[in-house]
Symmetry: C2
Subunit: 317 residues, 2 copies
């Protein structure tokens, strides 16, 4: 059952005491959606708070800047950028059966809430939140604009990916006119790397090998490297994109040691080569351009297996 | 003497046999401006060609896709994205005194042409070209849209920098609706690195040192590295941005060996620290956020000198 943003706006107007849930491992879009909506509801004179579902990364804390704690018994539950209750993680037990409103941009949204709005064409869920706040009649201030912009920018790789639409760009333009700190947000998100990340990039670049006339490139990381560089999960973000970025490479492979003789393999391809089909040979999956699988064994063996599968994809079977 | 885009449009409508000049070391904005305007003038039934002022990099050649050679004696000379005749490089002797129209976005444009339009608020000069083509009444096709988008995207670091305005975003939205290959252009410009560049990144990351509680970071490249990695000038683009991108670093320094005991130093800073003032101690200059200078001597000596100057800036004099 899909609802319109108008229906959801009417419902929110009638209710109070909101709790807004982000998905586990919260990113810029789920956090931006939650804090923008929370700020808008408060501007309407309602009580509202966000439950950050996991670590509230330091780089995102400006989203909550200046907000007071509000303590109340919640009456209305909203989820943002959450396609299914499994993404509620530790909040699942308490909330899975009582979500009132789900606002999302994933086509596979399982309609677990009483009311659901999904626009799969929205590059970021904050596009939906922007439209909802407009309907609610709340004036978007600079802080809300920063929240909305953060979703747009982080979910599109700074307006780089194929998901960007004219709508995305025009909403960003509106937000800039509302005083949002667009360039500073972009700098924090896309022009800043932790020292651990820099060390990890150096380490994985030292493992780079290329094959089949430089059409396939492979890098790998080890547990020892993680220890040595101090890299945590957040620092590994985007590492898997590196080998495919090399000019001429059409299949990029990243092999990450997860445990003894246990490896996680990420595959990225240019159009014309199917990452999911390479990964499916090892029980994995994914999309055309990006896939993943787990392979167990000695490292050299694992590398040989995934390379063989990549060659099959490259040359046809 | 500034002219309006309307005046320039009227002039172009009356003339024919156009030659459009790009600046030396042509980038995406000057090339995008030139080919968009050239295509528009041809659609008006006029003869027009672009002179690419230097190497026409392979990655930009789609800008000229499908265009026929046109041979004619030129009657009207246009420069795009050129602030002064010195940027004409090898074309200076032939053209410096006969430029009819200069369309530019640099505030320091020296008004060397008979007619000049400068909008320093335009993030890219293709914003001006977009507006001019609209006034000329030419329908923007997909190829023109690709040219205009290329300028927008390359001059803003994929819509990341502080120069982006709401106008930039809205023009990009319009171009996407006109069918431009925005995501593919962004991939080519921002998601592709040459193998030599990857090798060079690895090499310079191996030289990384940090100082003053990781607030200053220094990398360096040597002539031997350039030889070993095969890196050319184009591969070195953006290398100077690396040290400042590290989280916590406020002054990033790149020391590039140019010859025996001869070094080029690039400084990048976060706001609050003045790169130009660091570089001016060695006869260099620049802006608040980016500066450069040359220092001669043994490498260790050069590094010590620039580090001392950076420390002065960091701690105040």
């Amino acid at each position: 059952m899909m609802n319109s943003l108008n229906e959801i706006a009417r419902f929110l107007t009638e209710r109070d005491n909101f709790v807004i849930l982000t998905h586990q491992y919260p990113d810029g879009d789920t956090l931006g959606s939650a804090f923008a909506l929370c700020r808008a509801l408060r501007k309407m004179g309602k009580r509202s708070r966000v439950i950050v579902n996991g670590v509230f990364s330091k780089k995102f804390q400006y989203l909550a800047a200046g907000m007071q704690e509000q303590d109340f018994n919640y009456q209305t539950v909203i989820t943002v950028d959450i396609a299914s209750v499994s993404l509620l993680g530790e909040l699942k037990a308490e909330f899975e059966n009582i979500v009132d409103v789900s606002i999302d941009h994933h086509a596979m949204n399982t309609s677990f809430a009483k009311m659901t709005y999904v626009d799969p064409k929205a590059a970021a869920n904050t596009e939906n939140i922007y439209k909802l706040i407009k309907i609610l009649g709340v004036e978007i201030d600079r802080e809300m604009a920063n929240c909305i912009f953060t979703g747009l920018s982080t979910d599109t790789g700074c307006f780089k990916f194929t998901n960007v639409t004219p709508d995305t760009m025009r909403i960003a333009a509106d937000l800039m006119e509302l005083g949002c700190d667009s360039a500073e947000i972009n700098r924090i998100m896309f022009d800043t790397k932790s020292m651990a990340r820099i060390r990890m990039e150096r380490a994985v670049l030292n493992t780079l090998t290329t094959h089949c006339g430089d059409k396939i490139a492979i890098i790998n990381s080890t547990l020892a490297m993680e220890k040595e560089t101090g890299a945590e999960d957040a620092d590994m973000d985007g590492i898997a994109a590196i080998p495919r970025q090399i000019e001429g490479v059409v299949i990029g492979i990243t092999i990450k040691e997860k445990g003894e003789k246990h490896y996680r393999v990420s595959v990225r391809t240019l159009s014309g080569y199917n990452a999911a089909s390479i990964c499916s040979k090892f029980g994995g999956g994914g999309h055309h351009a990006a896939g993943g699988c787990s392979i167990d064994g000695e490292f050299d063996e694992v590398k040989e297996k995934i390379l063989a599968a990549a060659k099959e994809e490259l040359f046809g079977k």
